[in-house]
């Protein structure tokens, strides 16, 4: 069996990749958490966002990055996805001309819900990557 050569991403690639994955993960967390307000005129399955984030994790693993690159990208993604999700969730508030003091108040006392939702949802990304690792190295490889 040929030895797998993993790709070592440059710092720039890690930054861009991590930011992109973080934005996507944040948006998917938002879609998943706000499905009850999804337009009823265009129904989508309840688990759409979960499946998409699983696929993102799977595709990220398909890139076969070296461990350091993969960890860098997921750390940046984690750092980007929480503020992305929080900003989308608070979009009505942010566009209503809220003062910085009020925003701080809201983030401190209401941001916990967003953090909890993100904590539950973001690991789906790793589940997707893990699925690929099992596929490549598991009993079906």
């Amino acid at each position: 069996m040929a030895r797998l050569v993993r790709y070592e991403a440059s710092l720039f690639e890690r930054a861009v990749g991590g930011t992109a994955v973080g934005l996507v993960a944040g948006m998917l967390t938002f879609v998943h958490s706000r499905l009850p307000t999804w337009p009823a005129a265009f129904p989508i399955p309840d688990q759409t966002a979960v499946i998409l984030l699983l696929l993102v994790g799977f595709a990220l693993a398909v890139l076969e990055l070296d461990m350091r690159s993969y960890i860098s990208i997921t750390l940046i993604a984690a750092a980007v996805s929480l503020p992305t999700y929080t900003a989308l969730d608070f979009a009505p508030l942010l566009t209503s001309g809220v003062s910085p003091g009020q925003l701080f108040f809201v983030l401190v006392f209401a941001g916990g819900g967003q953090f909890s939702a993100w904590m539950l949802f973001f690991p789906v990304l790793f589940a997707g990557s893990g699925t690929y690792v099992l596929y490549r190295n598991g009993p079906f490889s």
Binding site: Y7, A20, V21, L23, V24, M27, L28, F30, V31, R34, T37, W38, P39, A40, A41, F42, I44, T48, A49, L52, L55, V56, A59, L60, A61, V62, L63, E64, L88, A91, P92, L93, T95, S96
Partner: protein, 192 residues
């Protein structure tokens, strides 16, 4: 195309799909959050004496300053839309059976719809006096992408638009059932 390139293409496609899901949901949330900018005003008030019951018929102008078109769903308003007199008995209309006519409210435009309240039998002879200073109050339903938003309403039944002479007889004459206003609505304005 090797495996890595396929992975990269899949990531880009997933990103596009995600943006496609996020944009309508965000727009929907912003419109819902700005639902209080939707204005509801009574432009015409009439009392219709039918053979079986007396009905208070209100022409209601719904203005939509948001960037999405809204629908007024045809329904019996169970949410508590009512006509409340300034003083006296509040139960002169049957508040749980307000019939609301449907209508499309274009983004940045307005539409006039009809709302009917059956008047309780004991109050049919003094509806006119009860309407002095009365307000249309409660939750007025509008629909965005198939989901109902309740707009808080507290507007005079004999509003400013009426006192300016917009086809309203201040004495609120009784009209025959054959003169009931049609269920058609007019829409003004347009999308932004």
């Amino acid at each position: 195309m090797n495996r890595r390139q396929v992975g990269l293409v899949v990531l880009v496609v997933l990103g596009v799909v995600t943006v496609g899901l996020t944009v309508p949901l965000t727009q929907n949330r912003l419109v819902r959050a700005n639902a209080d900018t939707v204005e509801v005003a009574v432009t015409d008030t009439r009392v219709v004496n039918g053979t079986e019951e007396t009905t208070l018929v209100l022409s209601v102008d719904v203005s939509n300053p948001t960037r999405r078109s809204l629908t007024v769903p045809e329904q019996v308003a169970y949410g508590g839309l009512s006509v409340r007199p300034e003083s006296g008995d509040r139960a002169f209309v049957q508040r749980r059976v307000a019939e609301i006519e449907s209508g499309e409210v274009p983004a940045g435009g307005s539409t006039t719809v009809t709302v009917r309240f059956p008047v309780r039998d004991a109050y049919t002879d003094r509806v006119g006096s009860l309407l002095d200073g009365a307000v249309l109050a409660g939750q007025f339903p509008v629909e965005l992408d198939g989901r109902v938003i309740e707009v808080e309403v507290d507007t005079p039944v004999r509003g400013e638009s009426q006192s300016s002479g917009a086809s309203v007889d201040p004495s609120l004459p009784s009209v025959e059932p054959s003169e009931r206003p049609s269920l058609t609505h007019r829409a003004t304005g347009g999308g932004r």
